[in-house]
């Protein structure tokens, strides 16, 4: 190829580039353009997500990442206050409520002047269809939160009375939970009934935002509702953009292409973001906590005393400090710290650094401890490796094995394959201690991976749920901890990073999950 050929090729390429550049000045018809006014461009908040979201159906959303869409478009009767460390239930679509002395009847007064996004006025008649749909469509997930409602009456348009089949001291927390009941326009429920596909892309709530354009797997848009009853947020639209690579998240936050990112325990990413110009890192309180599970069916770990010595012999504080730094605080009890008063949330096992040496020559001599960790949970491998190092140093043979998501779930619940120990970052469904204890420690608990059992625990939980006697959870904390079957490592905060141009980020997070935001709290600096 000679010089002339190169020149010809270069000229052609340049001409092509110039042509395309010239063409780019004539937009033609473009898809996905906001219908907003001229302020739309600078009033759009773009938030990054590192994985695709599940369908944002208000009745069945139960994964986490889709909840920011749901909570933007739908509201419940009550909710948790944002920007506080300890969960506090505050009004939402109900302005006031009373609970009967027997704990069975909840009377809510609805907020006046509220309309659903489809124009239907909010009246008490809207509650029953929403409850019914939550119970049926949400049966695979959070439907249990409304399953205890036996009767719904509507004395007038502004009053709804929910009657439970049995007293449940967690019921208001169920309603306030991010997974809890959301009110849906009864007209939409009538029109679309069980059409989950419709609810995956359309909304019929009362929230500050409406579902906009959804480019599945790429971008999900919320647009401000013109009929919102409350103080709307400062953004005309909110885009949730899926960006797989955390490196790209960092670059796009630095360049301003992204305005914010709410993540989990990805420490290296947020360490880097903390030094990125015009970006600030915020730490949200949450009830997420890494929990260690000890398998009573594993060789050598069937005895409570052995498990207690194992738990007590490990230097958990150093592990928490090394892995999470100031993102976490070592736990002193089995419940998340903000869930139960500190005096009631006390570990029963006293730390004993010499305990491991005793096990190495005693109960665990000749045994191999296998720690299976979920490789998809940030920090899990570091915790597992640190634990293995401590055990091996003490003379206990230990190894660390990582599992991808599907392999993890198939292994942990299978007694023939389950490892000696595992760990998982758990979060409760609501801020009530019953949701935490029942999830992890009950024989029927969804995350009771090794099927550990504490005598009388379910009965204690049932009693506490009926009576509302929170002091019962002190006994639960003691018994669970003493069993040596579980150890809560730390109270985790959730990292978030926002451009300095976003105001209100520090007060935007709901306290249970940490990753869910009240989008009305966010506004552009200008």
């Amino acid at each position: 190829m000679n010089t002339r050929t190169y020149l010809a090729a270069a000229t052609t390429a340049a001409a092509l580039a110039l042509t395309l550049s010239a063409c780019s000045s004539s937009p033609g018809s473009l898809p996905g353009q906001s219908t907003g006014t001229s302020t739309a461009a600078d009033a759009t908040l773009t938030l990054g997500l590192t994985s695709d979201i599940s369908t944002p159906d208000p009745s069945s959303a139960y994964s986490g990442s889709e909840l920011n869409l749901v909570l933007g478009a739908y509201e419940g009767l009550v909710k948790y206050q944002t920007g506080v460390d300890k969960a506090e239930i505050v009004p939402s679509l109900a302005t006031t409520w009373t609970v009967s002395p027997d704990g069975l009847t909840y009377t809510f007064t609805l907020r006046p002047g509220v309309t659903f996004h489809d124009g239907t006025p909010l009246t008490s008649a809207a509650v029953k269809p929403s409850v019914d749909r939550a119970a049926t469509v949400g049966a695979k997930g959070p439907g249990y939160m409304v399953a205890g409602i036996k009767d719904i009456t509507t004395p007038d348009d502004a009053t709804v009375v929910l009657t439970l089949g049995a007293p449940n001291s967690a019921f208001l927390d169920y309603l306030a939970s991010p997974f809890g009941l959301k009110l849906i326009s009864p007209a939409a429920i009538t029109a679309h009934a069980d059409d989950e596909k419709w609810f995956a892309t359309h909304d019929a709530g009362t929230g500050p935002y409406e579902y906009g354009t959804f480019d599945a797997g790429v971008r999900y848009e919320l647009t401000a509702s013109p009929t919102y009853w409350g103080t709307a947020g400062g953004y005309h639209a909110i885009d949730f953009s899926i960006v797989d690579s955390t490196n790209t998240i960092q670059l796009q936050l630095g360049s301003g292409e992204l305005d914010g990112y709410v993540g989990s325990g990805n420490k290296p990413l947020f360490d880097a973001l903390a030094t990125t110009k015009d970006v600030s890192v915020t730490r949200y309180p949450s009830m997420m906590a890494p929990v260690v599970f000890v398998n009573p069916g594993a060789p050598g770990l069937g005895d409570q005393a052995t498990r207690a010595a194992l738990i007590g012999g490990v230097d958990w504080k150093s592990i928490v400090s090394n892995v999470y730094g100031d993102l976490a605080t070592a736990s002193t009890g089995v419940f998340p710290a903000s869930m139960v008063p500190a005096a009631d949330n006390v570990d029963a096992i006293t730390p004993d650094a010499k305990g491991l040496a005793g096990l190495a020559t005693g109960a665990l001599a000749g045994q191999k401890i296998t720690i299976g960790y979920p490789s998809f949970v940030p920090g899990a491998q570091e915790i597992s490796d640190s634990l293995v190092a401590q055990l091996n140093t003490a003379g206990i043979t230990a190894q660390s094995v990582g599992y991808e998501s599907s392999a993890y779930w198939s292994t942990m619940y299978d007694p023939t394959k389950a490892p000696s120990m595992t760990l998982f970052s758990a979060f409760p469904d609501a801020a009530h201690p019953d949701t935490w204890a029942r999830l992890l420690y009950s024989a029927k608990g969804g995350l009771n991976m090794f099927g550990g059992q504490v005598d009388g625990l379910d009965a204690t939980l049932d009693r506490a749920l009926v009576t509302g006697d929170t002091s019962a959870y002190a006994a639960v904390a003691h018994d669970v901890s003493a069993s040596g079957l579980w150890h809560t490592l730390a109270d985790l905060k959730v990292n978030a990073a926002f451009r300095d141009s976003v105001h209100g980020a520090d007060k935007a997070s709901y306290p249970v999950l940490g990753i869910t935001l009240d989008l009305t709290k966010l506004s552009p600096a200008s």
Binding site: M1, K140, A216, L251
Partner: protein, 332 residues
């Protein structure tokens, strides 16, 4: 040629049949429980059990295979357990995304290969230095090229080229899924140009290694061709070097180049997983990667079948093109 294409189509069906069985068996013998991904990690054992029944995971394996195979034939592939959307809907966006990226990468591979082939055989120290650079580029891991290109063209060059995604505007509701084409079909050069800008970095990252390999094959072929007796004869008849190169040498050297390109293209489609992850390109690779992580067998199997089909089709097309380019080759 029609008979040849029909025979290849028959072979494709056989390949797909065995691929289906292989992927299905692998999916069933592997440790995978996608249920908690589907219904949430906090689900109770009763909810998990109900979901297993709903998803047919408790059915006998032959029954599951029958459901999968009939779903493939009827196009009803069911729901993705991770996205909870119909798999057919997910594929309708992921497949064009990957094919558009792969197509652009193949075009860039050819451009890089042809341009570099002339430099590759350059004598002296300059040629040696160039070969060292080419070797370095070809041996660099794809993800490294991808990340460096993002750093250079997005961060250091002030956002000259986008770092992620396929478009600044999203898809046309009635589009084909090929964004460049959609922009042109909708009379929007701005949209098409934006799609091209999004294509450049991932396509470049995917094509550099293949382009250098192609350059080497073309350079070797052309060097041999230019030294052959017929080239000498052409020179003695007064033909200019450039004409000999274009009309004769390049054509003769193109056969091994095309064969290599077919192999590279086949691998390229299936190896875009990393590229798609780095550039948040929502194609088959990205879709497959997520499905593997959560054990979504139906998606894994379906994507494998699609990739297998693309591989066979690409090779068939290459064989046809080879026969058209080189009369010595007969389709048989």
């Amino acid at each position: 040629m029609a008979a040849f294409a029909l025979r290849r189509l028959g072979a494709l069906l056989v390949v797909l049949f065995f691929l289906t069985i292989t992927v299905f068996v692998l999916g069933k013998v592997g440790d995978a429980d996608p249920v908690r991904t589907y219904i949430g990690v906090n689900a109770t054992p009763a909810q998990v059990a109900a979901a297993r029944v709903e998803l047919g995971l408790d059915d006998p394996v032959p029954v599951q295979f029958w459901h999968f195979a009939t779903g493939l034939v009827t196009g009803d592939l069911g729901i993705s357990l991770s996205t909870k959307r119909p798999i057919a809907d997910d594929l309708s966006t992921a497949l064009p995304a990957t094919l558009e990226l792969a197509g652009a990468a193949i075009v860039l591979t050819v451009i890089i290969g042809v341009l570099l082939s002339a430099l590759y055989s350059r004598p002296g120290r300059v040629g040696a230095a160039l070969r060292l650079v080419f070797f370095s580029l070809a041996s660099a891991p794809t993800f490294l090229i991808a990340m460096v290109s993002v750093l250079v063209f997005y961060r250091w060059a002030g956002g000259l080229l986008p770092a992620a995604g396929r478009s600044s505007y999203g898809p046309y509701p009635d589009g084909t899924g090929f964004y460049v084409l959609d922009g042109l079909l909708h009379g929007s050069p701005q949209y098409a140009w934006d799609a091209v800008r999004h294509l450049v970095l991932p396509a470049l990252a995917a094509s550099i290694g293949a382009g250098v390999a192609l350059a080497r094959v073309l350079a070797d072929g052309m060097t041999s061709a230019m030294a052959s007796p017929w080239a000498r004869t052409a020179r003695s008849l007064g033909e200019r070097e450039g004409t000999i190169l274009r009309r004769h040498a390049l054509r003769n050297a193109s056969s091994p180049g095309l064969s290599l390109l077919a192999v590279q293209a086949g691998f390229m489609v299936s190896s875009l997983v990393v590229i798609e992850q780095v550039f948040s390109w929502k194609g088959l690779g990205s879709y497959l990667s997520t499905a593997i992580g959560v054990g979504d067998f139906t998606v894994i199997a379906t994507v494998c079948l699609v990739l297998g089909t693309v591989y066979v089709v690409l090779n068939t097309v290459t064989d046809i093109v080879l026969a058209a380019v080189d009369p010595r080759i007969r389709l048989s």
